[in-house]
Symmetry: C3
Subunit: 630 residues, 3 copies
């Protein structure tokens, strides 16, 4: 080191601000650098230029009045790189105007290939998808376009390292790859939040990669059916959104109607997503964190359920650093009654996707959801069941599932008594797969029975066996007839109690009207529940009479309605009842031939009387007669 050299360098026009990942390969004698004091000793100060570049400013080069503290920022001039690699600096004028950034010219390693680089120091760029504080280090899960890799940073035991870094940031991680019990992680040397162009570059790269990887499987529908065909693009959008969520590490919370069609819809999608998650995250546990299937008892998304879902999501975020979830509504979610719950989630920017076949209210729902698939939006109706739609959806999410799902649309159709023409094709398809119609019907009954027994539990393993999706074929063949028979026996017992209390009258339009107090003349808190009990009575009466039938099963504050050959416009009836009977608090809804209403208990007689009056005037409609008994 000579004064001459130093003076020369100090005349240079710019000050270099080294990126924290820079090494000594990025510096040259004669240049000036921004530096931070990291130690004050008798003979000078030590300065850091980056995570890996440090050196001494000897006090002999001070002007005399400098007084440094650790953490002070200054500008230094590199005078010498010694043989042992040590750097010597002099002080330079800190007010020098022009600063240029210099990044270490590093080679990125793909997260998917860090396993080949154990022991090496690598550079990874990606998005932080999870931050988890352990009792020791902080773990940042960083995802690039190839995979996610855990990066461990240690500040102090249990203390959050890099507190400025947040989930969603795009970062550059530099550190050594370690193998720990068969998994790979990066021990963080430096971790920097990228900004500006660098951040945009990474975002673009991930976006492009995810867009490509999120692209659904190219499938043909299981049956040729124009009505369904027009909904395929919508289902492809849903498949893409769900695959993308998986790739981005966003949990999916699936809520579905707890009945046969709801299970035929949700179980295949759960299966497909589980497979896709395992492929994308190389971790059998990931599916448990990233996917939950939850049956809903109510025919809509209740505020209480939404509040609990939101609360769980927030707790998971606080505890595991996870993203907030995407909500997937299946065989549920299309109606105005769902919107208060949606609005709650909306305040937390939780994406919502709906596949349903109940009569939708797109004006209320669509502004709140990201995707909405429903046959009514295409001029079709509930005959295209959600199970039929979701089998197609599952096949778009993950390849190779066709053989395992061929019988499911037929079960869905039987469960919801679909009168779709395509039912013939679906039944043929199922028969070719080894399921005759009687057995499919038994599956449907077994699903209904188990939905009751499991209540709020998804019962994944058990339902997989009952539906034979990702289940055990032999067990399935044994279990289904057993459960169907149990269900039959319970129904028979319920009807034994109820039947002698069914009241009959012939109303003005000529239909037979049957009414039964299902709370007083059926067992409570047992299978079948009042709705199903009413349905079974109705079906028997339709068969017995061969004439138009209306059946009402009522309890203290509800009535279940079924009709055959009579056109009940239930939404309009509810509206009218509300006008006529102030203080009755009537609400509810349904299809043309099935529905349910609620009211306050003290007005039951008035409500039922008014309801029956309306039904007596309802139009008979041969189109709405059941198919003759097979």
């Amino acid at each position: 080191m000579t004064d001459a050299t130093a003076d020369d360098g100090a005349d240079g026009p710019v000050v270099v601000d080294l990126h924290s990942s820079c090494t000594t390969q990025d510096v040259a004698t004669g240049e000036r650098y921004r530096a931070t004091v990291n130690g004050v000793v008798e003979y000078g100060v030590f300065v850091d230029l980056s995570e890996n570049v440090s050196g001494l400013v000897h006090e002999s080069t001070f002007d005399g009045d400098e007084d440094f503290d650790v953490g002070d920022e200054t500008v230094v001039h590199l005078t010498e790189i010694r043989d042992n690699g040590d750097l010597s600096f002099e002080l330079a004028d800190p007010d020098d105007p022009e600063t240029v950034d210099r990044a270490h010219d590093y080679e990125r390693t793909a997260a998917a290939s860090v396993g080949d680089r154990v022991g090496d120091t690598v550079h990874v760029e990606g998005e932080v998808v999870q931050i988890k504080q352990t009792a020791g280090p902080t773990i940042f899960r960083v995802r690039d376009e190839t995979n996610a890799v855990p990066c461990t940073a240690f500040e102090d035991a249990g203390v959050r390292a890099h507190p400025d870094v947040e989930v969603g940031d795009f970062v550059h991680v530099n550190g050594e790859v370690e193998e720990r019990e068969g998994t790979y992680q990066i021990e963080v040397g430096s971790l920097d939040v990228l900004d500006g162009d660098e951040s945009a570059d990474v975002a673009r790269r991930l976006d492009a990669a995810f867009a490509e990887q999120a692209e659904p499987v190219d499938t043909e529908p299981l049956v040729e059916w124009p009505a369904l065909e027009q909904m395929i693009p919508g289902l492809r959008d849903v498949a893409r959104t769900l695959r993308r969520a998986v790739l981005e590490g966003r949990p999916i919370r699936m809520r579905h109607h707890a009945d046969g069609d709801g299970m035929c819809a949700s179980v295949p999608v759960q299966y497909a997503l589980t497979q896709f998650i395992e492929d994308a995250h190389h971790d059998e546990d990931a599916a448990r964190h990233l996917l939950k299937r939850l049956p809903s008892k109510a025919p809509y998304y209740e505020m209480e359920d939404a509040t609990r879902d939101l609360n769980f999501a927030l707790e998971d975020r606080a505890r595991h650093g996870q993203k907030l979830p995407l909500l997937l509504m299946l065989d549920n979610g299309s109606t105005e009654e769902d919107t208060p719950a949606y609005k709650t989630l909306d305040h937390y920017d939780i994406p919502i996707v709906v596949v349903d076949h109940h009569h939708p209210d797109p004006e209320a729902v669509d502004p709140l959801v990201d995707e909405h698939v429903n046959p009514y939006l295409h001029g079709e109706d509930y005959r295209i069941t959600t199970g039929m739609l979701c089998v197609e959806l599952a096949r778009m999410i993950y390849p190779g599932l066709t053989d395992e799902l061929e019988h499911v649309p037929a079960v869905a159709g039987l469960s919801d008594r679909s009168k779709a023409d395509a039912m013939t094709d679906y039944l043929d398809l199922a028969r070719d797969a080894g399921y005759d119609e009687e057995f499919l019907q038994q599956i449907s009954e077994a699903l209904d029975y188990e939905a009751y027994m499991l209540r709020y539990d998804p019962g994944t393993q058990l339902i997989n066996d009952v539906l034979n999706v990702n289940g055990d074929d032999e067990r399935h063949r044994e279990l289904v007839p057993f459960l169907a028979e149990r269900a039959d026996e319970d129904v028979a017992e319920q009807l034994d109690a109820a039947e002698s209390h069914v009241e009959h009258e012939r109303v003005a339009n000529g239909a037979n009207l049957y009414r039964i107090d299902v709370e007083n003349h059926a067992h409570r808190f047992t299978y079948p529940a009042p709705g199903k009990t009413t349905g079974e009575i109705h079906d028997r009466k339709v068969e017995e009479t061969g004439e138009p039938v209306i059946t009402i099963g009522y309890g203290p504050d509800f009535a279940v309605l079924r009709s055959d050959g009579v056109r009940l416009d239930i939404p309009t009836m509810v509206e009218d009842l509300n006008d006529e009977l102030p203080g009755a608090g009537v609400s509810g809804g349904g299809h043309l031939v099935v529905g349910s209403i609620r009211f306050v208990p003290g007005m039951r007689e008035e409500v039922l009387d008014a309801l029956i009056e309306k039904m007596a005037e309802a139009e008979l409609d041969e189109e709405l007669r059941s198919a003759p008994q097979r």
Copy 2:
């Protein structure tokens, strides 16, 4: 290596197929072996003969047209074992007809002694009892006749190693013993499913060892009592089955009646099994995974409970790779009403063991269960309570518990008002252990009170203190009188409300009949529940009148029945009511002097009227009078 040697060897008559555990000690120059290509290089191919035996086939020995890919199978001829251990091969004719298997002649290490072999490569043979996939390796828990040992195999991070291996397979594991935070594991080198004779050998060895280790403790009953004596062999069978389940790593799910006798039955068995599990598995956590005690509110095993139990078991199997459990029914489980639930479990081959003292239906139950102990099957009755039986059972499961359990049969007897002659002996036994009858009665009341407060929670620690089984003696002495007094106060408050609404009539047979609407004239959702409230009223009336008494406590859809000095054949009454009152949906059952029935709410008046008519004609029976008040 010379051509001559090679040619000589190549003429040999057989090809050896080395077992994957073979080492270089199992090969000799001149022999021919089946081999798999594991690398293709410029100068030849590398081949594997077993996990530990590999070598080079130099291309100079090729005929010229060979074209190998990794994974190809071929036959090689060992020409040289070099000084450094490297093996040199030549190609041999792959179509050679005769192949002989050669196993490495290894010495088995007992799983219990791997801790003495840290750092060594050992061979263990046993049954795979659990397979758990971690984010890193797959862990196979292998049990031989001495212990179970975790064996870790790594395929790729989070990827299932040896996907063909299943729980229940008999395997040979070869690998190095490691110590990790004080536990021992084997890092798998090779893991092979045994078949044929080898498998049968291991199975036999385990079976013999388990049979010996499962043998129950040799005990004498606590009291001399011929009625009980004849049930000892059955209890020994149950003890053997339970000990065997523990040894085999099969979880036990215990369901018991949530009352005093049910707790006196289940808590000692839980205690004994916990001790035995800790001994057998050397792991304080094992008892938590392998044993669950669950109170049942209903007097039988409900389908909903069975469905949830099955679902939990299937989830545990999916998640932790555990075996499906054994179901142990205590003070519950002997009746026809239990069979639908049993049939459900039967489809999953879940073993069922029953110890009960309620009136059994062996024809319905026995075909579905593995063991069934019930005093009625020996011409005895409910006076032998399940608690009395299970104290004997607990002592057979684990030695040295006698001193801690001597007071329990007396509590069980008082709880179920047993009129067994042996009660005197049991009370004496308890008194000698420091429990006078008044205090035993308080324990019984405290158990009943806590059963109510805990609902579906077993409350193990708390109940242990109340019953003083594996509890804290000092706390027990304080807690019991306090809880008994709380229970008394709550009963008094309930009776204050109810008493003035008890209706009295003297019926045809001369008995006093009391009826009370326990839903309308008692507090709801509070202790005591309707059944106990009815019982307390009944006891007071018996004492007040000194005459035959029948008491009926009814709600909207149920009635609780108690009698004293009147022979009520409740099952027959239920049958008759069902015949006479179609649509009333009557069900239920009980003993001669206690029972309960259910019906549909709308038929309550009819059912109660018909019931009272039958009771008025029931036979008086002095034998069924309560013992005079002590």
Copy 3:
């Protein structure tokens, strides 16, 4: 070694008993020591003098007839310390009378600084605060006056090391400091329970340190208010007790009334304690183990809740080796109805702290609780809400929270309709913090709504956002109006149904009496619940009439009472009703203008008639009129 030396030494007057932590630095040739045989060999016996001091007694020095077994105790005489450190002993007379203890003169290391001593052997003295058995070692968590440190001791895999050591013991740990994934632990060499003076010394040291560290933050109340001022010392005692519990590693179980004021009380305290726990335990997970906030639906601490709390605590102790918790009752807990639950916990020496503003029964409660803060105990009343008190408490527990809590007392006051003069100051304070009164009112309604939706779940993250304590400000501003509007709509719907069924009469004292059957004329199982529905009707009637109003909302077994301008002495009414109506089982309580009672359903008409009769005679009181509508 010479015989001469040995003989000399053997004449010495005392035998030294080395403390287990002693090393060879603590011995000298010529001295005699108590020793334990740890090995018998052909040529002599090996003896232990301490954990670290051992040596050989050669059989050549035996008298001839000695016969030693491992574990025998004897006295030896140190004859030689060899160059390699080995010690040689001779036998000495074991019956020598005088023994002196000798402790290793070690230097204590503060638990907080073990991180600076990795690889060193250190001595730590402290209290065992947790003992956890793992599948490998046993982990003793030892806390000294600076910090807690995990100490791992290994006996055998899964076997409890040092089974004599219990939580609460004062111990001396000697072992090597290890770093494991960023946390420090001591690998136990020796672990001894201290007794006598040594134990007392450590206890004193910890006590002094905790007393100092537990000292609350010095704060000034947010507003000048003499009524509140006098309660500050009591709140400081509570703050001290809670801080001390945290320092001692005792979990805190917080139960609070599930309404607006209850949340305004509990959420700030939860926030402050969480911060303090993280500081004291350097572990983000600690707060999850050490603090639980649980809403209580009932207005008092139910036995069922207490039973479950106790059961959880006992399970946690059994499973995680934790101390039993401290119970903190907020906005709940001052009444006689709480005492049965308190007595249950008392049997387990669980400390109880109460901050409440409901009418207290200090005679019943105070003997059972450690601290009891309630405005009535200072001649004040419910106008000082628990939320107001607990904001002061939170500020005493953790510094720097003032800015985040300034709006909370105003929300608490609005929620409980406090008529305190200080409300003006609180509203001003909130307005200065950016919350106008309308928005505060909305927060109150949103809290009430979410309390209903969350039921038994604390919903911490969600409630933090709603109340904006440790929440997200932007989300808070969006969420509150949305939830308040939802609540309003649900109230409107409920009132629509109810309003036409409200019955009116003018009673003797001139007040307007309104009654409504809220079970029959309102929707069940939906927001608002009957109490709130009654309140809303009442508020409307007060506004409509401008006159004194009494409102009764009743169901099958309860009635909710509200009055305005009428002095209802509800406790006295309950007492009188009970006297007049035996068998009605009336219970309940309340303030002067709000209350609720329960009764058995069958006596409803009688109870309501008698109640109205009393109300008709109640005194009108202008002081109890609502403030004019703002």
